[in-house]
């Protein structure tokens, strides 16, 4: 441990190590802060220094911030050994149908089944139920509008399985908006008769499609469904 750490800090480090060792779920930094009666920022700093320490020492375990809190976990480098020990595959993979549905829920939450279905273009009932059973999504609210649709959102378990701390840590959806060449290809695929080209100019004035096809960086209206 670093030489400049104070005695009080050393105590806190030990306490955190002990608490994380007995906790089943990730422990939120503000809960630690509350227990230790110290600012959350300080707790976060100590946790991250502990994490660095384990890594520098080449430990077989690591301390990560995940699903809204801190937890101990086996080091990724030791995956082969742990796999041998665990035997039953704890991590079963999702099909791409499930994963795409999960992505929609994750980025658009809260979202209803029908809204997901509209984006996927297919019925998503089975997939939604599978994701719910697996604990990746849950009903987070009820739509106040007519029909009182159940609104789904992701769970802490989802965050844990993605190895991230919070939903906003997901890569920005903007990163996945298709590039101009794909938009162009799609546009070309949907191209109308050449003899209504004048209308195209008028029609496109209202939308942004033409502009994107023209190669500018303007945002594609991907996100405007409500």
């Amino acid at each position: 441990m670093g030489d400049e750490t104070t005695d009080e800090e050393l105590d806190i480090r030990r306490a955190i190590e002990a608490i994380l060792m007995v906790s089943i779920d990730p422990v939120a930094p503000n809960l630690l802060a509350q227990l230790m009666e110290m600012p959350t920022k300080k707790v976060e700093a100590i946790c991250s220094s502990l994490a660095d320490e384990y890594e520098a020492e080449g430990r077989g375990f690591c301390l990560v911030r995940i699903g809204g809190g801190y937890r101990f976990q086996s080091s990724p480098a030791q995956a082969a050994w742990v796999e041998r020990f665990v035997l039953e595959g704890q991590h079963s993979r999702l099909t791409s149908a499930a994963l795409e549905t999960l992505a929609i829920v994750a980025y658009k939450q809260p979202i209803s089944r029908n809204q997901v279905s509209a984006i996927r273009g297919v019925d998503v009932d089975t997939v939604i139920r599978t994701l719910q059973q697996r604990g990746y999504i849950e009903v987070v609210s009820t739509d106040p509008g007519p029909g009182n649709a159940l609104m789904f959102g992701t769970t802490r378990e989802f965050l844990e399985s993605m190895g991230i701390d919070k939903v906003s840590d997901l890569p920005s959806l903007g990163d996945f908006v298709p590039g101009p060449e794909i938009v162009e290809a799609l546009e070309r695929g949907l191209l109308a008769d050449p003899d209504v080209v004048e209308l195209e100019a008028e029609g496109d004035a209202g939308s942004e499609g033409g502009e994107v096809a023209g190669g500018s960086d303007a945002e594609v209206p991907v996100d405007d469904r409500s």
Binding site: Q73, H91, D125, L173, A185, L186, L190
Partner: protein, 257 residues
């Protein structure tokens, strides 16, 4: 075109359309639908198998395309309806927006798969509290009533709905005319007259009755029985012809159900 889609996986209509457009440069209004079908068939071949759902989805999208296209091809009203034209453009823009959205989430899902794969290299510590502290732990069931537990039980034990298309109406016919003929030959006294009503006594299944009727017709055709119906909708009387050779009966045609 340089664009390639790396996942040869079909999940839904938009997916299909996306792949078709991106790969084959299908131009909705200009290219013949048969090329779309061809492209689809090539895709099918590549997948190496066909499932009903995928095929249905293709039919759906093909129908949509066909509708869009016919609207373009059919001669329009003499008066040029600019609203219709705009409507078409609106439709196209909407479709484009949905395709883009679909593509966006497809790519996002690939990224999620990577995240999950990385995360799956670590296992969390889940050992929990040591025995020494267990007595301190608060009662997790505080505030949970037996009714809450029952509700949780109902949720957990509720039969999971299993979706399949009801194909009862096309269930295979299990009664055959040959069997029915055999039954009639074996069960009915070879003298006197019996009514068709008696022959079908106790039968509930309409198809079984139909098959039995076909059997009677078959026996008539073979010259084994005489059929007589005195009045319309009256009883059908079936009587054995004297001296009929029952050995021939095995040679009857087999009706395919």
């Amino acid at each position: 075109m340089s664009v390639t889609v790396t996942t040869p996986v079909y999940e839904g209509p938009f997916d299909l359309l996306l792949n078709l457009i991106l790969r084959e440069e299908v131009e909705l209004y200009e290219v013949s639908l048969s090329s779309i079908v061809d492209a689809y068939l090539v895709e099918l071949e590549n997948l190496g198998s066909c499932d009903l759902e995928m095929t249905t989805e293709f039919l759906l999208i093909a129908a949509i395309l066909l509708e869009l296209k016919t609207r373009r091809l059919l001669p329009t009203d003499d008066r040029f309806d600019i609203d219709d034209e705009f409507g078409l453009w609106e439709e196209r823009d909407l479709l484009l927006a949905r395709l883009l959205e679909c593509k966006t989430f497809k790519d996002a899902a690939i990224q999620l798969r990577r995240l999950a794969a990385d995360a799956s290299l670590s296992w969390p510590r889940r050992a929990g509290l040591e025995d020494a502290f267990l007595h301190l732990a608060p009662d997790l069931l505080a505030g949970v009533s037996p009714v809450d537990l029952r509700d949780a039980g109902r949720r957990a034990l509720a039969p999971k709905p299993v979706f399949h298309i009801d194909t009862e109406h096309i269930a295979p016919i299990r009664v055959s005319v040959a069997d029915a003929v055999r039954e009639i030959v074996n069960d009915i006294p070879h003298e006197g007259t019996v009514t068709f009503r008696t022959l079908t006594d106790g039968m509930v299944d309409r198809i079984a009755i139909v098959v039995r009727f076909l059997a009677v017709l078959e026996l008539f055709k073979q010259g084994v029985v005489e059929i007589d119906q005195a009045e319309m909708f009256g009883d059908i009387h079936v009587s054995w012809l004297p001296g009929a050779d029952l050995a021939d009966i095995d040679l009857i045609d087999v009706y395919e159900g």
